[in-house]
Amino acid sequence: MQVNNVLLFLLLMLSNNCKDRYQFSAIRTKNKLVVNGSITDMEGPSYLKLGTTSQIEKDSDPLPGAHVSIIDENGTREDYVDMGDGKYRMDGKTVKGSRNGTYMLEIELPDGQKYRSSPEKMPSPTGTDSAHFKVTKDKVISSEGYLVDNTNIAVLLNTRLPKTEAPAYFRWGIDEVYCIIPTCRPGSIACPPFCYIYQPVSKFNLKIILSSTSHELVFKGILLQTRAVDFTFLVRHYFNITQYSMNLKAYDYWKKAELLTERNGSIFDTPPTNIPGNIYNIADQSEQVFGYFEASAGVLTRVFIDRGYIPIDITSCDWSYLIPGGNPYSYCLNCNAIKGSTNIPPVWFF
């Protein structure tokens, strides 16, 4: 139940509430293993991320050099490829994700410590999705302190979830892919190639829904994401929406993640605590390991927005738009520097 913001409400009731940035001093934490990844029945490789907890307001430190394998219910094993920076890829040559299959991870760290995940069974029911977008406007306070109009793109989901014999659990993830046509200086021999940038959507609110055992469920217009319009909408902007059908354990993990990430300091907040994952140290099961390895059935839906749908001006990277003598936008000059950038267009992009 949405009972957040209650304290904010009281503040507004008194017309003078406030929220300030705050950081505890002298926070100390011991490095602990973080494992995050999944196998699905969708096309393409599966990815895994290994890291260690580091410090407040910083993502976990990447942990490369580990030996990671996935094992299915038949004992078939496939090793992950170490891509560096704590990322590992499994191409699915011998172990392919399939519904009702059961999968388990084995990890050996560079220091010899061995870890294993609990066996995860991939559920079978999936729903039918469609998505659309809507341009919205609101007012925000600019960095200069002025109230200014803000244009957003709201991504909305329609979904139809089948009646299931036992409760089934669904969540949605979203990432975006956009294109930058970099600045081509007049007189250049060759213009730089287009960039295609893959990014997870930040500040994503988890959407988790249970199926019904008595009837089909139909939801229309679920707001998945609201994103401010910026330079990423210069050409074409895709939102890739993935429906994950989870098992009960994964649902429990994500439900807890939802509770923790929706905290806003009010009296109704879930007390802060840690989410137990499904990875354990084989030699010492009392060791705290974070993260979850998930086996879920997936359904992908795409929606894109062309520049023509955006009702406001966005400064192009075209040379003629750049201010003479001014600082050209860095993303226009070197779009390959953007994290997640590639010059190879996805086959579905145009």
């Binding site: 913001n5 929220k19 940035r21």
Partner: protein, 807 residues
């Protein structure tokens, strides 16, 4: 001119004397003669002087009036029925009767036989030459045998700075040592390191299960109908039971028996009015008081659309009818209803309602025996709304209770006061009911039955003045609780963690069938030893058993938390409280100084598993843990009672810990080690001052400081898909920033001539301190790294203005 009254000695009984009125403020004291002065008298045999102190205007008994014999430096105070008792040798005495807000009575008496002397005290106008803060006999803090007892008259708290123009019972208590709160905006209060559900909050003897309006910004005691209140935080007399930490006993007024009166106050956010008067003059009186808020006009003017679509309101109503059959018998019926409603846009809302119906029959059975019979029906219900279209639902829970209590007070002489009696309580947990809300809700109806039980207590409590230097208050209470049907009880595999996976059996119990019984003795003892007339030491020990628990797993208690009686899986909380204190008065009681040390242990303190799901859970025991608690601390207090400036300074060092060390890892918190409770605040300082400005105005201020409460801090995080998952420290290993606040108020009396009125300007949080309510983390847009935020309830100074009038 002296007025002399002579009364003939009557050998069989006593002589009743009524003096209307008996006050000689600033005049030569009268001489009252009791007995025959022309006959010889026995100077060895002690005689008894007794009587009742009432308020002249409405004939209501005055408790806590100080009766003092000057020559002997000896005295006593009137009890809750206004009755007093003195033992004297025959002779002549200078005699005074004092009570806060009343004109003192000064007289000489010549007494030769047992006699009854009743007093009617006149209300004193506000135009005092000096401000006196005292609700009790001036040296009662020294002579009172009970340790850790605080009594307040409502007149006293009206001199403290107000919040939103309202003086408040619980906010005034929080200025005293040993009492604090989790933070602004949280319901209830914590006493000496105890939880809020460990406080028995009584209104005219009836339990209140929620004592807050607007999430604790105000309490639900209307100052216009409250007579006085007493907080027992150290030694709790055996008459009270059912809670582990403290008792707040609030008494409301009966109406005026002589004439109709109106009190009203108009503020920016709320107003109040109280009407009182005789139905039958000198026999039957009525009082009705109400408060109601109208804060929506502020919401409508807030720019945020969500807030404009929100609503917030509260009201309460108190009513009392008292009838005096005779001087020996009276009955009163009182009713209370308080309601809060709160809606945030189209997202969520809540509503909660408390009700109490109280019948009381007071009877003077003989000169030494009096009886009080109380019958109470109480009800608390809360409702949480989810207005989101798909998940829209309403969730109701609550508790009802009935109480019957018979107390006998036996007063042998001024040395002995014995209370004996019994009480019986029936608790009926109301079912949790979830219903879909609106036409588009996809939620299903759900109902979870809650437990019920009955509690019976027998007690005897004696206050015995062994000598002028030593007095003892000793009591014994035996309480028994039975968890009763109808109910379905689950049992789990022995030695395993309680969960649905370990469910072993289900047993059904019929209506009234006993499921589980808990019982035990609760000894209470307190002793006072006077080192001199101005110094005393008090020690106390008491054991208290608590069979009802507030199940609350949020940052702070909320109005929608669940009251849960003990059952086979949830044992009673048993607290042992120890305290020792040193008390000293200086300069003829102008100054009071005290220091108290306390230590408390609590068994079966309820704690929660991580991510406990408490709502609509018919296997609640699978989410709960029980551990042991301990709290200890030091309270220092210095108070100035008389003079142009009055007020107090208090300091409390307080620690409160809990240990949950079950057999299985899932049944441990922080590896089974002691850790701070979320109301553990080591240092608290309160400074309160009051100053009279000219003839008609008064200035008041208070400053409060306390350590930040414990919290679990974000120590790292990791990214899972698009979500940054936080990694937290162990439970309550860090603290939010310290709290401090300065409030002021100025009250101007007699704004309009010939009307008894005043205007109060107050500023809460004068310096605009942004005190932290909580620290939380959110993933900002455009980043996968959660950032910490400090949430403050009040971000600036909060001024208010209230006009009060009575006629």
């Amino acid at each position: 001119m002296k007025r002399i009254y002579e009364f003939q000695y009557h050998p069989i009984g006593v002589i009743f004397l009524f003096l209307f009125p008996l006050y000689v403020s600033g005049q030569q004291p009268n001489l009252i003669l009791i007995g025959d002065s022309t006959q010889g008298y026995n100077t060895i045999k002690k005689i008894i002087l007794t009587g009742t102190v009432v308020q002249s205007a409405d004939k209501k008994p005055l408790s806590g009036a100080a009766l003092f014999v000057d020559g002997l430096k000896y005295g006593n105070s009137s009890d809750v029925n206004g009755k007093y008792f003195l033992t004297l040798l025959p002779g002549k005495y200078r005699f005074s009767v004092r009570h806060l807000g009343m004109t003192p009575i000064l007289m000489k008496i010549a007494i030769y036989v047992n006699g009854v002397l009743n007093f009617e005290m006149l209300e004193k106008s506000e135009a005092l030459e000096e401000v006196v803060i005292r609700a009790r006999k001036e040296d009662e803090n020294i002579k009172e045998p009970l340790a850790g007892v605080t009594k307040f008259n409502i007149t006293e708290i009206k001199r403290l700075p107000s919040f939103m123009g309202e003086v408040d019972v619980i906010k005034s208590l929080q200025l005293l040592p040993g009492i604090n709160t989790v933070g602004e905006g949280s319901a209830g209060f914590n006493v000496r390191g105890g939880r809020i559900d460990q406080n028995l909050v009584l209104m005219d003897g009836g339990q209140l299960f929620n004592s807050s309006h607007a999430l604790g910004l105000l309490s639900n005691f209307n100052p216009d109908v409250v007579e006085d209140f007493t907080l027992y935080k150290g030694n709790v007399p055996a008459q009270f039971g059912g809670r582990a930490s403290s008792v707040l006993d609030v008494r409301t007024r009966s109406g005026n028996f002589e004439k109709f009166k109106v009190k009203a106050g108009v503020g920016l956010l709320s107003s109040r009015i109280a009407l009182e008067g005789p139905i039958i003059k000198d026999k039957t009186s009525i009082i009705v008081g109400t408060r109601f808020s109208y804060s929506d006009w502020i919401l409508k003017n807030v720019g945020n659309i969500d807030v404009r679509q929100s609503a917030a309101s509260f009201y309460d109503i108190n009513g009392n009818i008292t009838h005096k059959f005779s001087d020996k018998n009276s009955i009163s019926i009182s009713y209370y209803r308080g309601n809060d409603y709160f809606r945030y846009s189209h997202e969520f809302g809540y509503e909660y309602t408390s009700q109490l119906l109280n019948f009381r029959w007071k009877s003077l059975l003989s000169e030494r025996w009096s009886s009080t019979l109380t019958a109470v029906g109480g009800d608390y219900q809360s409702k949480l709304y989810d207005f989101n279209i798909i998940t829209a639902r309403s969730l109701t829970n609550g508790i009802g209770y009935y109480q019957l209590k018979q107390n006998f007070l036996y007063t042998l002489d001024e040395k002995h006061a014995l209370n004996i009696g019994a009480d019986a309580n029936v608790y009926i947990g109301k079912p949790e009911v979830s219903n879909p809300y609106g036409a588009f809700s996809s939620t299903a109806s759900k109902r979870v039955e809650k437990d019920r039980g009955r509690e019976i207590g027998f007690y005897a409590n004696e206050e015995f003045n062994i000598s002028p230097a030593v007095s003892i208050a000793a009591g014994l209470r035996y309480s028994m609780f039975q968890n009763t049907g109808p109910d379905t009880v689950f049992s789990y595999k022995p030695g395993e963690v309680k969960s649905l996976a370990t469910l072993a059996d289900t047993t059904h119990y019929g209506s009234g069938e006993v499921i589980k019984t808990y019982a035990g003795f609760e000894p209470r003892i307190s002793m006072r030893v006077s080192l001199s007339k101005d110094q005393s030491i008090k020690v106390s020990y008491n054991r208290m058993r608590q069979y009802i628990h507030l199940i609350s797993n949020g940052t702070a208690p909320t109005p929608v938390d669940i009251w849960q009686v003990s059952n086979p899986h949830i044992g009673p909380q048993v607290a042992d409280n120890y305290s020792i204190g040193f008390f000293q008065n200086v300069k003829e009681n102008m100054y009071e100084i005290s220091s108290e040390v306390f230590y408390k242990t609590i068994a079966n303190l309820v704690e929660y598993k991580d991510f406990a799901q408490l709502l609509l859970n018919n296997h609640l025991e699978t989410e709960l843990l029980q551990g042991k608690g301990k709290a200890y601390g030091v309270e220092l207090f210095a108070k100035k009672n008389i003079g142009a400036w009055t007020g107090w300074i208090s300091y409390t060092y307080l620690r409160s810990f809990i240990k949950v060390d079950g057999i299985h890892p899932e049944e441990r918190v922080n590896q089974g080690n002691w850790y701070p409770t979320n109301y553990d605040k080591p240092h608290t300082v309160n400074i309160t001052a009051n100053h009279k400005l000219g003839k008609n105005a008064r200035f008041a201020t208070n400053f409060t400081y306390s350590s930040g409460r414990p919290t679990s801090a974000l120590v790292s995080n990791y990214q899972a898909g698009s979500v940054a998952i936080p990694v937290y420290s162990e439970r309550n290993q860090y603290r939010i920033p310290d709290y401090w606040r300065l409030d002021i108020s100025i009250t101007i009396n007699d704004v309009f001539k010939k009307i008894d009125d005043n205007l109060t300007f107050s500023v809460y949080n004068l310096l605009g301190r942004r005190n932290a309510y909580s620290i939380y983390y959110q993933q900002p847009a455009g980043s996968f790294i959660p950032q910490g935020y400090k949430l403050s309830i009040l971000g600036s100074a909060l001024p208010s203005i209230t006009y009060n009038v009575s006629f």
